[in-house]
Amino acid sequence: MNKATTLFFILLIAVSFAFQSQDNALYRTNAGVVSFLSSAPHEKIKATSKKLYGVLDPNKRMYNFAVPISSFEGFNSPLQKEHFNENYLESQKNPKAYYKGKIIEEVDLKKPGIYQVRAKGMLTIHGIEKECIVKSKVVSEGNKLNIESNFSVLLKDYGIKIPKVVSQKIAEEIAVTINVDMVIKN
């Protein structure tokens, strides 16, 4: 085997590995942005976490995201944040919220383009799991994805009880916004 032949095989193997790794690659993030907005008659509360992390398998169209509850910042006061963590979300007992599921539409996210998809999965908040379908806009650049989603969550569905005295300050239905940039990684 001459050098050229050897080089060809080395290149072939490298390329095949490269392609193979590309096929099995997953989109990942650890700095996704999750915001929620409570629009109650007497008060609006907004908080944001930039610590959403997760993985998306473009081949199986499966995904798994999580966000630490205590990572939400914003609120209208520190006490509000404290109540959010200790009284409502009980972050010590249920430190994270999860969303795990599958993209319904048969899209190839590795192919650049803009996709409107529905993510159907189990959303776990406050330790309670509930099926949830989230409509999302996915912008793919091949190696990168940007996902934007807007959906709402009913607090009662997740066992989060709002005392009557603050019922005018905390909405029953919370608007959630997600903006995630994901990068393909092996």
């Binding site: 599958k102 319904i104 539409e105 048969e106 529905r118 159907k120 379908i133």
Partner: protein, 1055 residues
């Protein structure tokens, strides 16, 4: 009646803006909301299935619930469910109930028992979402794909790893080729059986499916699959052409369920709290319209939307359920938006507009659906708002004619949109229009109340009017209704002279033939079979077939004899009255009654109209009523009758298997039910116990008992009706009651044999017993006989001794008696008849002669036989002593001394005051020289027969042996009776033996009287003859009777 002229004909067509609201019909549907069952509230109803018997089984978060239309029955985990929340339920062909749970396991319900599905361990833990039977059982899960349990009980698993579109399965469906379709989050998967292998084919968005999330699939009647999706509404998939029909626009949220309510018409339940209606034609999916009649149902948190076999709609929700039934009746009222509640006339025109004539004029509505009418262009001016529009008619040109009460006839030209008044110009100037019709020549006929009939030429613009009144042969000017038929015959319903037929220019009374004169005919209608129907006050309906009249009244099915209007639709004749409608089917010749129990009806006279679909629009004083008659005889769905229990002698029996009963089990109670969820329509039953009942018995009760059934074979037939004349196929329960033992022939033979054998054995035993006893008796008799013989011998010996003694005593007694020959020496004319009862006698005669005195006595001592004989010895001795020794001859003295002597002889010095021993005696002292006879008697008389006449000379009433010292006879003395004897006087002395002898024909005593007669009879005979007669007479009298006493008769005379 006031005539009103309408002078101003300047009608202005006012075009109203189409109002955006519709008037929904009240009572168009009936809703029953169920929020709690058996004290359980907020039950989440997750699924349901209707069993073959009509009952509905629900899967809930609280277990399984069964509903039979009347009662709910709960089955919870305590009854054997392996898990309480139920997510899917299914009944297979063998009536096994499959119950799927949230935990992915299955319970089977069979024979009233729950059991765990044997292959639960091969199933995962994902919620069971659906079952379907297709060559085994298919089980859909929400997360684990599909399991197939084939007929060999092999469990096959299909998931996204081996070809299923997704593991989240919502629904399954079998298409017309028997392929299985699975609806998942990844689209549809078709599973086909191909030579022992299953081929899976995914149809998803890539292949044209609008949405991958398939919530529901149903097989439409045309063979298409109708697919309900999460966000894209519905689509229809042709499995042959593999093509989709898609809806163009869907913005009503995720679809929960879809049902095909009628062929090609689908109802769709969405999560947006609404039910939509959609028609899918061959080429497209039609637009979606909200189903108004379901709008009163709360569809929030809907889990399942279902149509049962009765076409009721079921809404299963997270906190209860609702049942929605359609009603045949719809009501449009003022409070729903129509102009008035007093509707006098109604017409549905050829453009499907609803014209309503009320007490507030004429109004027009469009009819967008069966359940609503919409106000539309109102075309009359204010001037006739307050006019009463009594009839409306559409001519062949589309013009609307309407008549008013008091304001005449109007014509609305639908092309020019103008109204004009048509003056009837009747002789009586009457504008009370009652009815409008047209004949084949396009001539408008108008009837009035008071002005007769007018005919208007509708062809020529002149609209010439010709009137028919009383003088034209009409006979009356008040006409309620008129009818033209295809032969241009006109039928005229009059006030007072019945129905007229106008033919060849002549009015003929139809009812003359039937003696129905002086009656009012209010309505006339013609059925498709050509019969003319009309009603008469108080007489119900009449059918005229051209030849004869036939009456229908409450006697043969009509519920009210005062119908206010008649409508016909095909072969149905509908009589409208205050209680509802009676529908008569000319084919079946039967009435079906449709009541309005809970609503005031009050239909107005002839204010009804039947549209092309068979809907009857009825104007009433309570709004506009709509009655759907179109499917009365085609909607043949009936309740499903079933037995709930059978009690025999008050004991529940398993009627599925037990059908033979003993003769004593002859009291039957049948409890039954018919599942019928339609609300407000009563289920009726008819039943017959063949063998007892000769015909079906109709009832609304749900039980019937039969008592005292005889032996035999019986079949109980039960059928249920939907209240509209349709009866379910009868269900039967056949049973037999055995004959009582005494009616079975072989039992008789056996019984006879047993009785015969028993008697035989008893007799034999008895015979043996008797023989044994006989032997014992014989032995005893032998012993006793020997004993008796021995005693007899002893007695015989003793008797002989006694007899010998007595015989000897007789000799002694005979020796003391005077010799007869001796007596005859002194009384040659005498006889003595002396006959002792025994050998010796108590009677004796005593004779003595003292100088010229003959003392002669007949003595009767106390007793007879030996005691009497002894007494006679005493008497004889004492008499001898008194007379012969003491020479006492005076009879009274003799007796006194005899008394003393006897007492002395018997008692000596003892106290004899109470003695009864003694003797009766008659004694004579005959002085043969002086021929005087002195007689003294102690209880005995002397008989003197002189010149043929017997005289009784009584003695004293005291016997010898009486104490004269004390007592009642103290100082008593016997007395003498002295008689001067004449020639031929015959005297008789006697004891009482002769007269006391029993005998004669009657066995009575002879008595003294007969004895005396005898003596008197024989007194003139010689003494020997007298003795013979006395002897013979006694023998003759006594006959075979025993002699009761000693007998002594003495007769004598001196010469």
């Amino acid at each position: 009646m006031t005539l009103r002229y309408f002078k101003h004909y300047n009608f202005i067509v006012c075009i109203f803006i189409l109002l955006s609201f519709a008037i929904p019909a009240a009572k168009a549907q009936q809703i029953k909301n169920i929020s709690s069952i058996n004290n359980q509230r907020n039950i989440s109803f997750n699924c349901l299935v209707q069993a073959n018997d009509g009952t509905i089984w629900y899967g809930t978060n609280n277990g399984v619930i069964k509903f039979d239309g009347e009662k709910f029955k709960n089955f919870e985990n305590t009854k054997g469910l392996i898990n309480v929340p139920v997510s899917a339920i299914f009944i297979d062909q063998s009536n096994l109930i499959w119950i799927g749970h949230n935990n992915g396991k299955i319970t089977i319900f069979e024979n009233e028992k729950f059991s765990a599905f044997p292959f639960n361990d091969q199933l995962g833990s994902a919620k069971i979402t659906s079952f379907i039977e297709n060559n085994g059982m298919w089980i859909g899960t929400y997360g684990n794909g599909v399991y197939h349990v084939d007929k060999k009980n092999k469990v096959n698993h299909y998931n996204d790893q081996n070809g299923l579109s997704d593991n989240a399965v919502y629904t399954m469906c079998i298409d017309k080729r028997k392929s299985l379709w699975v609806g998942t989050d990844g689209g549809l998967t078709c599973l086909k059986n191909k030579k022992n292998a299953t081929e899976l084919d995914i149809i998803s968005m890539k292949k044209g499916l609008p949405d991958n999330i398939v919530r529901n699939i149903i097989l439409a009647q045309n063979g298409d699959l109708i697919i309900a999706m999460q966000d894209s509404g519905i689509c229809a998939y042709n499995v042959d052409q593999r093509t989709f029909k898609k809806n163009e626009h869907w913005n009503y949220g995720p679809v929960i369920s879809i049902i095909e309510f009628e062929p090609n018409t689908f109802y769709i339940a969405s999560e947006k709290n609404a039910i939509f209606k959609c028609v899918i034609s061959n080429d497209k999916i039609g637009s979606f319209s909200r189903l108004n009649y379901t709008e009163n149902v709360d569809c929030r948190d809907l889990n399942v939307f279902y149509k049962d076999r009765e076409k009721n709609l079921w809404f299963l929700k997270k906190n209860g359920m609702s049942i929605l039934s359609q009603s045949r009746w719809k009501i449009f009222q003022k409070n729903n938006g129509i102009i008035s509640d007093t509707i006098l006339s109604v017409l549905i025109d050829s453009k499907n507009n609803c014209w309503i004539g009320s007490n507030k004029g004429l109004h027009i509505y469009s009819i967008p659906s069966y359940y609503e009418i919409v106000p539309t262009e109102l075309t009359v001016k204010q001037q006739i708002y307050d006019k009463e529009v009594t009839c409306i008619f559409e001519d062949k040109f589309g013009n609307i004619w309407f008549g008013t009460y008091g304001n005449g006839l109007f014509k609305y030209n639908t092309k020019t949109k103008k109204i004009k008044s048509i003056p009837l110009q009747t002789e009586f100037e009457n504008d009370n229009v009652s009815c409008i019709t047209v004949d084949d020549n396009n001539k408008i006929w108008v009837s009035t109340l008071g002005g007769g009939i007018s005919m208007i030429d509708n062809i020529n613009a002149s609209e010439e009017v010709k009137n028919f009144s009383f003088k034209d042969g009409l006979g009356v000017n008040y006409v309620y209704s008129i009818l033209c038929d295809s032969q241009n015959l006109r039928w005229v319903g009059t006030d007072g002279i019945g129905l007229l037929e106008y033919t060849a220019g002549i009015f003929i009374k139809v009812n003359e033939k039937s003696n129905l004169e002086s009656k009012s005919v209010y309505s006339i209608a013609k059925s498709s079979s050509g019969n003319v129907w009309f009603n008469m006050s108080e007489h119900g309906l009449y059918k005229f077939d051209g030849n004869s009249l036939l009456n229908y009244s409450t006697l043969n099915g009509l519920t009210d004899n005062n119908p206010l209007s008649i409508s016909t639709y095909k072969n149905l004749v509908m009589a409208i009255h205050n209680n509802g409608i009676d529908v008569f089917n000319e084919k079946s010749n039967q009435f079906t009654n449709f009541y309005l129990n809970d609503v005031v009806f009050e239909p107005n006279l002839n204010a009804s109209f039947t549209d092309k679909k068979g809907n009857v629009w009825i104007g009433t004083n309570n709004g506009l009523f709509l009655f759907n008659s179109s499917d009365i005889y085609t909607d043949t769905i009936t309740p499903i009758a079933s037995f709930t229990s059978v009690l025999v002698n008050n004991v529940n029996v398993n009627f599925d298997s037990k059908n033979s009963f003993s003769s004593s089990q002859n009291s039957f109670l049948f409890n039954f039910n018919a599942v019928w969820f339609k609300i407000g329509e009563k289920v009726k039953f008819k039943y017959m116990l063949k063998g007892v009942d000769k015909k079906f018995i109709y009832s609304e009760n749900k039980s019937i008992s039969y008592g005292g059934l005889q032996a035999g074979s019986y079949t109980f037939y039960l059928s249920a009706s939907n209240g509209e004349g349709h009866w379910s196929k009868p269900i039967t329960y056949h049973f037999t009651i055995a004959k009582p033992m005494w009616q079975i022939w072989w039992v008789w033979i056996l019984a006879i044999a047993i009785i015969y054998l028993s008697i035989h054995l008893i007799l034999r035993y008895r015979l043996n017993l008797l023989k044994r006893e006989k032997k014992i008796l014989e032995h005893k008799v032998q012993l006793r006989t020997q004993e008796i013989v021995n005693q007899s011998k002893i007695i015989e010996a003793k008797n002989k001794d006694i007899t010998d003694s007595i015989e000897y005593a007789k000799k002694i007694q005979d020796s003391i008696l005077p010799n007869i020959e001796y007596i005859k020496n002194f009384l040659p004319h005498s006889f003595i008849f002396y006959k002792q009862k025994d050998i010796v006698s108590g009677d004796f005669y005593w004779f003595a002669v003292k100088n010229n005195h003959i003392i002669f006595a007949a003595v009767d001592c106390t007793g007879h036989g030996v005691p009497g004989a002894f007494m006679s010895l005493i008497g004889n001795n004492v008499l001898n002593q008194i007379v012969n020794e003491n020479n006492v001859t005076d009879p009274a003295t003799i007796l006194m001394q005899l008394n003393t002597g006897v007492l002395k002889a018997l008692y000596g010095s003892k106290n004899y005051s109470t003695t009864k021993d003694g003797m009766d005696i008659g004694i004579c002292n005959i002085n043969i020289q002086t021929k005087n006879l002195i007689f003294a008697g102690a209880m005995r008389p002397l008989y003197l027969c002189r010149e043929g006449v017997l005289e009784e000379i009584l003695g004293d009433k005291v016997s010898i042996g009486t104490d004269f010292n004390e007592g009642t006879h103290k100082n008593f003395s016997f007395s003498n009776k002295e008689i001067k004897i004449q020639d031929n006087d015959v005297f008789y002395l006697s004891t009482d033996g002769y007269a006391d002898q029993f005998g004669g024909e009657k066995g009575k005593k002879m008595m003294k009287k007969n004895f005396k007669n005898l003596l008197q009879l024989i007194s003139n005979r010689t003494m020997d003859e007298q003795a013979k007669v006395v002897s013979d007479s006694l023998i003759e009298w006594k006959g075979n009777f025993e002699q009761v006493d000693d007998i002594l008769v003495i007769g004598f005379k001196l010469s």
